[in-house]
Amino acid sequence: MTVAEVLTATVRIGASPADVFPYFIDPALLVQWIGEWADLHPEPGGRFALDIGKTPVRGEYVEIEPPRRVVFTWGVAGKDSLPPGSTTVEIVLTADGPDTVVQLFHHDLPAEEFDSHLAGWTAKLDQLARLRT
């Protein structure tokens, strides 16, 4: 069963798109807000590897249009039901005055994978919860 799901998320950041964009392509910057380890080769077909907790997220960059848009594929290494390359994350940065509106679209996420995605994500949630308190 594969019910395609699109997750969307958005945030407004008090910085220009040029300031925000590197956080999607520079591994040292990426892991400041998601995951703990990353190996990124930001060019079309280049490697996108990110470990979130025990979940090895693997994919590749599809489109890179600084400072406006970045698209990469997303899957989990060794997971037949969600193989690397099976889903796509699209990020759009839009300048709005001094701010940047970040829109994120996670395409083609199969519904039945949501709860197994959970394990990796909850580690991130714990980290977030600690930071906020």
Partner: protein
Amino acid sequence: MLRALADPHRRQILRLVRGGELAAGEIASHFDATQQAVSHHLQVLARAGLLSERRDGVRRLYALDPQGLDPVREMLSELWPSALERLKYVVEQDRKKTAAPKRAGRKP
């Protein structure tokens, strides 16, 4: 929901029951924790709507609640926003550090 899923034991319980209904004792046998502790986790998951619970004589049986999957999806759709909130925080902090404090980072 977030709290129910934040505990690794509870996530493990959900993985165990994905394959089908299990008795509380069978679930507990997978953990070093006391049966009482596991029972507590089961109650938390049931209250969060992730597990369904039924009695069969003296046994209590637990299954993944299919109705609960919708809240899980809802919750997951909060995960990317959480990460993006973190991104916002990090970017704005970094800007305060590097750029001279020409802007207080707070809107009038």
